[in-house]
């Protein structure tokens, strides 16, 4: 079952902040975040493994609330290069020995000058 991402799209000005949410109806083992620019391959941003864990990547950070089965991606002081579609990928606790990610439908982020 795919995770649900919100919002579906967001438009901001350079320097503004944004939050993208990802939630699942199933217990999660991990949450992965990827960014895809138009016509390009999705690129790995970060993975969160533990409940409550927060990770940062430049001015992009994320949190994982294991109890609520939710993750949020925080983009601070957005740059033009942040534009793209952001995907969360979730890995369920009942997954087998091979990692199996289920991705959400993505959030299209547009940063304007």
């Amino acid at each position: 079952q795919q995770p649900v991402q919100s919002p579906q799209a967001v438009i901001l000005r350079e320097g503004e902040d944004a939050v993208i949410n990802c939630s699942s109806s199933k217990a999660l083992y991990s949450v992965h975040w990827y960014r895809q620019k138009h016509g390009e391959a999705p690129v790995f941003l970060m993975i969160l493994l533990k409940g409550g864990e927060q990770k940062g990547h430049d001015k992009i950070s994320a949190s994982f609330n294991e109890k609520k089965q939710q993750s949020s991606l925080y983009l601070t002081a957005s740059q033009l290069s942040y534009s793209g579609t952001y995907f969360c990928g979730t890995e369920r606790r009942d997954s087998g020995s091979a990692r199996q990610l289920t991705f959400g439908s993505g959030t299209q982020l547009t940063v304007l000058p």
Binding site: Q2, S30, H32, Y34, G39, E40, A41, P42, V43, F44, I47, T85, F87, G89, S97, A98, R99, Q100, L101, T102, F103, G104, S105, G106
Partner: protein, 113 residues
Amino acid sequence: DTAVSQTPKYLVTQMGNDKSIKCEQNLGHDTMYWYKQDSKKFLKIMFSYNNKELIINETVPNRFSPKSPDKAHLNLHINSLELGDSAVYFCASSQNRASEKLFFGSGTQLSVL
């Protein structure tokens, strides 16, 4: 050098035809994947191979047959193409089956007319 390369980038074909998509990775990774991105942008796993062995086979029609001649290559052959097969197909690789980070190819846009 492109880490994960797919060919062709675009594929337009008639219903009922058979087509193949090729994927190669030069990262020395053990595990490769095929994902399908539908019109709603959901990225859904189809298959995964680890050292040429099939480890994930999601509910995919038998018309789809992956082949891994060696661990650097994972090709996807599709028989009797249907309209509903139109999508973007992404190949990806990871260092091993437990790795956290996926490296995606740039995708193959398949249009079935």
